[in-house]
Subunit: 352 residues, 2 copies
């Protein structure tokens, strides 16, 4: 993100720097207006974070800019949980898996007395939260695999339509962050291709990514399992979800998934937790202009506050550790304060 | 491909059929001109194959057409070797691997007396062609893995620039099929997103896909290996190619790869061999309008003739079996005769 070392002081300084470069090369180049007539990020308060996004997009898309990025290379990667929508107190996909257990046990009664299904059926969220990782994996495998991809999609659609977040009494898909929606649209309007790169299940997120974020399924990279091709009893081809992990799209898995599914290094990456660290490292280590940003959940009133970097309580989700905070500072990744940088959290007419 | 059962007789009949449907529904709909002013497929001879493509695109993209496909669903999948460019007498990626052996042995002299490297070093193509599959896999692993993804890309670029096909004395990337280039452009001009779905190495094809076919790396699905994230001695993140198979993008692997990388069922699929069978089955089994087509190599003079369906000699590459031919007939997949349907094989100024 070396470009941001120039950008981060003031925009005026950047314009002066770029102008000097361009005069010396004789290139034609139009400086951006001091005040944009239509603010592409109306839900952002003025500040370093907003200005960095505006400057970066402007600097990388103007013909003649020394930071110009050709349209084909304009790849932007976004973590989902905690970056594009609410992840606290539990990832919505995990809630989906828990909600599927009664139907699963109805179909396979022998699971009723088997852990972790027995505990899940009690509905005791505290006991459920204490289930060991091996049990959680058993739960995910049992509820996310074994069906055709079409049946899975239909189930998730039904669940999304019927389920409400307990705090906001809204569908989960209404709990995306309005300021990030504006960033996605602003980037796309400037020739960036936006990708989700999520630790969540790829098949799960693809069900709603287009309607919720304007991001088509083929631009969703996520944790992915094996798929078995076969034929149903009528001889029609089927794809069945298998309990075999192909890609764990967390931590080092994120740059691996980016290479597998996208095949180019992103220019921009947004995350919010230690699981996004390698994605931001990989993104911002590339040549030329790079932008790395991290969303900090420090707004207990309008959303949630968590992450020890701010002396906030540690949680099981989206840990923004002190180590990540230090690395952000060292690498020039900008931290977005939900409390200070965002005028509103959710889209109008949804949750706030 | 049920739509083609209506399309395949004559275009006039189609127009009449559609018009009748539309009059009865009261929908507004403009019929296509009887003769397009600018032929989007000038390298195709008039015939069933050309007409099917024109009719299908026209029928799926006109608002009000009963075969209309929303833009987001317009996914078209193309096999590469033998469908978009020459695959005979050997896949160019295999030639790349063979060409890499001297440099590999120079770096690791202990391989000089070890098979299959010993045989490859003799340059005896007949002996090389007889190497058992296990040796071929050893060769692919040794030449396609162990380096960073950036180093691999640079090597392939260098090789593509330096290497010529022995028959046409042209770079391999000049040996794409002009009629298929026109189909790719015609589809994109009509809102279709074009994907390569190849048995070849995903990382290999992505090096030249954009320049050669206008298909960006993120729209190339291919055989893919594991990737290891790490750091070089300067602490910079690296991605290293590992000798571990993640996706064998042949046969049943093609629909699996399509689900993994694209996440939607294509509307159109083009192939040329038994390895494309499941992709065509999966594509054309979807609801609504579907198009499946197979390129038949029956032009010994301008390209090659192979495939037992035409009494042509069987080869190691792109086998168009009698079984595939029968299935094409039963499923309404159209067979493209290179000899009869294509006016020219290669782009002007390249090979013919």
């Amino acid at each position: 993100m070396r470009i941001l070392h120039r950008f981060e002081i003031t925009r005026r300084k950047l314009i002066v720097t770029l102008a000097a470069v361009l005069v010396s090369t004789g290139a034609m180049w139009t400086a951006a207006p001091a005040q944009a007539q239509d603010d592409p990020l109306p839900s952002w308060n003025d500040g370093t974070a907003k200005q960095a996004i505006l400057d970066f997009v402007w600097g990388t898309t103007q013909q003649g800019s020394p930071y110009f990025v050709p349209p084909a290379e304009r790849i932007a990667a976004f973590d989902q949980d905690g970056t594009l929508w609410v992840e606290h107190p539990m990832y919505s996909q995990v809630i989906y898996c828990l909600d599927r257990v009664p139907a699963l046990v109805a179909a396979k009664p022998e699971l009723r007395e088997v852990e972790p299904f027995k505990t899940v059926l009690t509905g005791d969220r505290e006991a459920i939260a204490k289930l060991p990782m091996a049990d959680l994996e058993k739960l995910l495998a049992a509820t996310l695999t074994g069906m055709t991809v079409d049946d899975f999609k239909a189930e998730v659609e039904k669940w999304l339509a019927a389920t409400r977040d307990p705090r906001w009494k809204r569908p989960y898909t209404a709990l995306s962050y309005q300021p990030m929606q504006e960033v996605l649209r602003f980037l796309r309007a400037n020739g960036y291709k936006t990708f989700i790169v999520t630790g969540g299940g790829q098949d799960f997120v693809r069900v709603y990514s287009e309607a919720t974020y304007g991001i088509p399924p083929e631009q969703v990279v996520g944790t992915a399992g094996g798929i078995r091709f076969g034929y149903d009893k009528n001889g029609r081809p089927t794809l069945t979800k298998e309990p075999k992990l192909l890609l764990n799209d967390n931590d080092a898995g994120k740059p691996q998934g980016i290479h597998l599914m996208i095949g180019r290094r992103p220019v921009i990456a947004f995350g919010n937790s230690i699981g996004d660290r390698q994605m931001l490292e990989y993104t911002t280590a590339g040549a030329g202009a790079r932008l790395g940003m991290l969303v900090l959940h420090d707004d207990a009133e309008r959303e949630y506050a968590y992450g020890p970097a701010q002396g906030l309580p540690e949680t099981k989700v989206g840990t923004f550790t002190q180590e990540l905070y230090n690395e952000a500072t060292n690498n020039g990744w900008l931290v977005i304060s939900m409390k200070k940088d965002w005028k509103r959290i959710f889209p109008k007419g949804t949750a706030d």
